[in-house]
Structure formats: C-alpha cells, structure tokens
Symmetry: C2
Subunit: 244 residues, 2 copies
Amino acid sequence: MSTVEAKRCHTNPLVNCGDCRLGPLCLPIALNTDEIDQLDDIVKRGRPLNKGDHLYRQGDAFHAVYAVRSGSFKAYSTGDDGTEQVTGFYLPGEIMGMDGISSLSHAGSAVAMETSSVCEIPFSKLEELSGQLPSLQHRFFQIMSREITKDQKMLTLLGKNSAEERVASLLLSISARNSHRHLSASRFRLSMSRAEIGNYMGLTVETVSRVFSRLQKQGVLGVENREVEILDMAALKAIANVST
Amino acid sequence: MSTVEAKRCHTNPLVNCGDCRLGPLCLPIALNTDEIDQLDDIVKRGRPLNKGDHLYRQGDAFHAVYAVRSGSFKAYSTGDDGTEQVTGFYLPGEIMGMDGISSLSHAGSAVAMETSSVCEIPFSKLEELSGQLPSLQHRFFQIMSREITKDQKMLTLLGKNSAEERVASLLLSISARNSHRHLSASRFRLSMSRAEIGNYMGLTVETVSRVFSRLQKQGVLGVENREVEILDMAALKAIANVST
DNA sequence: CGAGTCATTGATGAACTTCAAAGGGAGTGG
DNA sequence: CCACTCCCTTTGAAGTTCATCAATGACTCG
C-alpha cells in the first residue's frame, strides 16, 4: 500500500483528522486547517477492537469520548436485575461515550459488533481545547444536542409507534446514515442481531423476525439473514410514518 | 416585602444568580462569586408566564436556553400527523431548550403547565462566557450529558416496563426532584393531567387512571385529583423496580 | 352556575409477548 | 474437508397487557 493510499484509508491508525474522510461527519467540521491540527494532537488512535470487545463498561471512570472510525458499536446499559437495554447503535463518524460526562463514570457500556476502530478523544483535553477554539466548543455542543434530539425521537417511536413502524424507522435510519457516508442507501448488512434490534426498539426477537418476514412478503424488503435490501423505499417510508 | 425578603424570593425578577436558592440545582454550581456575577450579567429574567403560554415553539429560531425559576413546564414535539409527544416535564432549577442547539431551531415546544417564570440564557453569550470560564463550560457539558442519560433511562422505561412500573417511576422521579428542592418527597400536587402523563409514558389516559386507582386500592398512594401522597414509599419503589 | 375539560370505570378487542419447536449458518475441532 | 455444535432465526399457538370504545361523574373557571 502506498503512502498516499495509507493516508486515504480511514482504518489506518496513521491517518489524521485533516485527511480522514469521515471529517465532515465527525468533530472537525467547521474547524480550519490549523484548528484541525490542534484537535488532531489530542486524538489517540488505538488498534482495532474485535467483535465483542468492550470500549468501556458501565461504571468505568469516564475520561474520553470516542469517534467511530470503522465498524460499528452497540451502546447498552444494564439494569439492577441484569437485564440489558440497548440505547444506540453507532456507525463511523458518530461520537460515543457522552453519557459519562455528568457523573464522571459511564452510565452504560459500549461493545464492538464487528471488527472496529475508534478515535479516542480525552475529555479533559477536549474541554481545554474547546475553551480556546470557539468553533470546536460549538461543534461539541451541537453533537451533544443532536444526541438529545435523537433520543427524544426514539421516545416518540417507543411510546407511539407499532412494531412495523419501529423496525421500518430503524432501517431508514441506517439507510440514511449509510447514505451520508456515500454507501448504498438501499442495500446493506446489519451488524446487529434480531434480538439486539428488538431490545433497542422495545420488541421481542420473534416480533422483529415476523416484521421482517411480513415486509419481505409485501415486497418492501429483500432479506437474507443480515443482508437487507430496501426494494420499495417509498413504501418503507410510508410504513415508518416519520419524516426522518 | 422588605428588600432582604425580595432577594430571597426566587420568583422575584430582581433576584440574581448569586442569591437564587436554586443555585445548586442550576448552572451556577461550581462557579465562584466573581464567575457567578458574570453569568448573572447575561441572564435575562422575564415576567411570569401564565398556564398555557409557550416559552418557545417547535421550529422557532433557537437563541437561548431557559432555567425554570418557578412553576413547571411541559416539553413536547409535534409529529407530521399532528400528534403530540411529551418529551419531558421541567421543574425549578432544571434547564430546557437544549434541543435547539444542533439545528439552530427548536426540535420541540415548551409550554407552562401553571404560572411559571424562567431565566433566559442567550446561548451565544453562554458559549462566549463558557470559553472564558472553564468551570461554566464544564457545568454546561454536564447538564447536557444529564439530559442524555435521563432520556436513555426513559428509553428503558418505555421499552421494557409495564404501565405500573412506568407510572411509579414518574412519581418517584417527581418525588426525588421535590426532595432536592427541600419540598415534601411524599406529598405533592401534579401539575400535569393524566393525559399528559400517559402521553409521556407511552400509555393512554385510561391506563394511567387505572394504575392510580389500583395503587390507591393497594394503599401505596393516596390520590385526590392531582394531589398525590405516597403512603408506602418502599412499596412504590418495589413496583417501579428501578434504582432511580 | 353552567359549559367544557378532565377523570374514572367497564366491556371488548387487537397487538405483542410468551412458550414451544424446528430449521439454517457460521465457526470449530477432529 | 467434513461433521458437529451452538447460536441465531423463523414460524406457530396460546395468553396478557394495554388500547379502544363508550358512558358517566367530577372539577374548574369564566
């Protein structure tokens, strides 16, 4: 692999924020070249995590937030009775770990759903740098606000929508996020199991499976295990019943 | 009313952040006297809002966040089909409006549930000041993070818990928040209707009403319209089935 | 005091869960 | 390379919980 190719490959630990093609989705947007370099100095790029590896666990001391570089993560929290609740799926360019800021310990855990890599951003340094770079501070406020509005949309979904609407919404969300990353909006591989989808959407495995079967029978989806193809985007949006 | 009393009364528009008895719940915590004065300079204290008055509406341009000074607010968003989803109830000392930061327009609306007053904190000035006062920046990051973890607990509640567990959790949450404000943890008046509770918790009015009746019959609650008394706190916590 | 909203209670029905069983896929070890 | 195992997924049948429909009663606020 040539040096140029290495710089282009976002899974390569050597690539810096300025060259990372996730830039526009991640923190660096709205920063100038010099500011990006400063951000770059505090970012740590670790080796890839394997499927099942934890990035952090509930209760761990909080000291950093993480940008997904490649792969995908599941965030979840564990109740007193040991039951788990999936609180989100994170794809490349998205920021995880902000649940730890308020109490200085993580309110939930994050686990890799496949081989993945992240950029670790030490929070104390991010705060320090944010004090010097107004646009970085603004950007991080934005990202936290987006997390809030995302969770509030989920509240609506769980409170008001049927099983079909919930599953359709999730598929559309993944589709849109893929599209932002210039990947196919209509065809992708789910990195999570039916059980994880169900957990996230407040449904059982069986219900999720039945919804997939029904949507396939209706010609809206093509499903083969975790490979999904959206055959009728308009119909899926109609079913989801949301603007998303 | 003497001057001293006026300063102590947190509903009085003249009281400043340094004297406000909500201080420890609100933004000023962890700031020193001088810093509080600077914060105080950017805070606008308006006249009280009447029940039903909107603080902001979905789609409004975002330019400030709001700290509840007295009374209570309901935050909600309106779907394409006109249905409303309550996303939160806000009591004195709590910060509202952070849903607008990411898109520069409010993702939802906020309405007073009774006569209420707020401190308006212009966001651009808050950002500016946060750049100069690291402890203020930190505090605001904390508050946003708390909003995120709060919403994620709600996701768990809506996804996994029964009607009784949801209603019990809400009552315990209000109880705990009252307690923080040195009000009674066991006896209070609900400022929201059964319908609003149901909407928030993903239930119908009828179900909420039935839960109240059942809990009353079991001797856990004393209910008289919107007056609620928690007669058996331990039982209520057992029903809620959460640590909260 | 009257109109309208809010709350309660009952009967019915639908959506989803739970319980149960069997059919693949992927990875592992012989 | 094949067979075995484990987990994931699918599908069916029965059971619960909550929503819906309906009607009455009780506050509250002009």
